[in-house]
């Protein structure tokens, strides 16, 4: 029992959870609106796109890399998909758009993966370069501009609701998009992948020590290559969902969200150096950022203050975990010493 408690306190998730709870309660006390059904649904729906992105960013960070290209990748792939379908006057359902977007995502992810796994170039540099390339392809080659009309199938699907939540006091309603199911599915899939497949354990192993992974028999190059393909696919799905939910394709408004996503992942206790972190923590961290970004208005703080809070959150969050690491290191080493002396 004591052991279990110790294990719990040495992990990051409980702290994030407590902070999250505190923030929620604070907002509830100030506004009385936080736990209203429509607000909760709003938050869940705001979580879909960042949540999906965070899953991809999380897997990359665990493998010891960092990806700053996923918003550009997603933008290029959703834009190309939407444009292609519009040009062919596509009238069908939502399945084909997703398949096309996933295909583009895989292709673009493979571009990252090729340079990272085969040429062994630093991930930050490759993804910086590729995000620039993707942006150039979208704005240059495809001559992108805002698409106010999207194919009917996508539009219908984007409006479809699982259920509608109504605020009993104000009467405001919020729709829970069907896309939430996609997010849940991706989450379960990633959880299963990371936990129960050798591929997933390989991602952790590579993040722990690439040399050891190679010697143990993990196919490091292939694993990394597939990882970036997968991240490309997830990001593209997120991009397309966003298009459907917004009912229009805006090519540039996802650009720049990479840093906030990475911040959420790291706030959730994922080590930026790779190898350590849980999907649960990652989701809690992302949720924290989403809530701060979306709920400040409820307690009367103007939205223009949002960045102040996210910035402070990142600094305090990472500061606390840096302090924890240092502190842990100290107690561990002195304890180790004592044991040795005692022998």
């Amino acid at each position: 029992m004591k052991n279990r408690l110790k294990k719990l306190t040495s992990r990051n998730e409980p702290y994030i959870f407590l902070v999250l709870l505190a923030v929620c309660i604070l907002i509830e006390i100030r506004s009385g609106q936080f736990f209203s059904p429509n607000n909760l649904v709003d938050i869940a729906s705001a979580m879909i796109v960042p949540g999906l992105m965070a899953i991809g960013a999380f897997m990359v960070i665990v493998s010891g890399g960092i990806d700053v290209s996923f918003p550009a990748l997603a933008s290029l792939s959703f834009y190309a998909t939407t444009k292609l379908l519009l040009d062919h006057n596509y009238q069908g359902g939502v399945v084909l758009p997703f398949l096309i977007a996933i295909g583009f995502g895989a292709l673009l992810g493979a571009f990252n993966g090729l340079f990272i796994s085969y040429f062994k170039l630093p991930t930050l540099i490759v993804t910086l370069g590729s995000s620039s390339v993707f942006k150039g392809l979208m704005q240059g080659a495809l001559n992108s501009r805002q698409l106010a009309v999207i194919p009917t199938g996508m539009r219908e699907w984007g409006k479809k609701a699982l259920f509608v939540a109504k605020n009993p006091v104000s009467g405001l309603t919020s729709r829970m998009p069907v896309a939430f199911l996609v997010f849940l599915f991706a989450l379960v899939f990633a959880f299963f992948l990371l936990r129960f497949t050798m591929f997933g354990r390989g991602i952790y192993a590579i993040g722990g020590s690439e040399v050891s992974a190679e010697r143990a028999g993990f196919r490091v190059v292939l694993t990394k290559f597939l990882l970036y393909i997968m991240v490309g696919m997830i990001a593209s799905v997120a991009g397309l969902i966003r298009v459907c939910m917004m009912q229009q394709a805006h090519p540039t408004n996802m650009l720049g969200m990479e840093m906030n996503i990475i911040a959420g992942v790291v706030l959730g206790g994922t080590a930026i150096t790779g190898g350590r972190g849980t999907l649960l923590g990652c989701m809690l961290g992302t949720l924290l950022i989403v809530i701060v970004e979306n709920s400040l208005i409820l307690i009367g703080i103007p939205t223009s203050w949002k960045s102040v809070f996210t910035g402070a959150l990142i600094i305090i969050g990472t500061g606390v975990s840096a302090y924890q690491v240092m502190h842990q290191g100290k107690t561990r080493s002195s304890k180790g010493k004592k044991q040795e002396v005692a022998q």
Partner: protein
Amino acid sequence: MNKKRNKLVVDRHMFRLIVMIVAWMIFIAFTRFRKFYNLVNFQTMAAQFPEFGLMSLGVMLTMITGGIDLSVVGNANLTSILMAYLLINMTDVAGAIPPYAIPLVFFLAILIGATLGIFNGLLVSKAHIPPILATLGSGELYTGICMALTKGNAVSKFSRTYATTINNRLFGLIPVQLIIFTIMALLVWFLLSRTVFGTKIYMLGTSATAAKFSGLKTDTLLIKTYLLSGIVAALGGMIMLANYNSARADYGTVYTLQCVLIVVLGGVNPVGGKGKISGVILAIVLLRMLETGLNRFPKISSYYISLIWGGVLILVMVLNFFTENKRVRRKG
């Protein structure tokens, strides 16, 4: 003699950048000679690049210590917004500002930049937050303060004198922006290659542990480096203020990754300990030339430039990969 040979080997990367610049210049000479090779065009280029050029200097310094500064744009915007407010207050009804106003705002901008830089330095050295996260957070924080102050609106309506002064040309020839950049670049060059501080930060970037065991004040060195980065970023902000004749929380947001890209393309090792200012300046020149040159082809969308940027970066890294690998194999 020996030393020279050694230098040649090290500078293979820079050689590659020079080849690219020359090749591009020749290409432009054959295709768009008159539209590119004229004084006004070069003056325009020289006035455009200093704003992000200065920020790149900051990113470079921090990268040499093994860190990174993602807060340069936030810092630049916060400084320029604060100074814009000050300029508004100093502008009289006739739209004039007192003669001491410009030196004063530059002096204060340096102070503000230094303060914001020190904050980063403290987060990295004393709080032990990984630089990429610390400056990501502080950049967000600085931008947030900008937003909170301005509600996202542009701050303008200050005397035009500021913009016209900075947009002036010395002897009618050299843009003031270029002069500011040159002074700072020379200063950084001097610090890196001619002072004790420079040697120390290269060593610190190579191994923080060995630096501690060699008796270097690692915390102070880091704080000083981030302070310098803060100052150059703030000056970049002051140039933006002149170039746009206004300040806004979201000006130059693309510069963050662009600066990192320039610095890496310039041959600075993201792991730390390696990198020269000459490489970074070559990278800035190359990218500016590519962009301006491309603009001379009206049929080609100017958006292709980011494709080319990314392409050049990846290409250079792949070339490095092949040459490095060859060398390693020979050694093994």
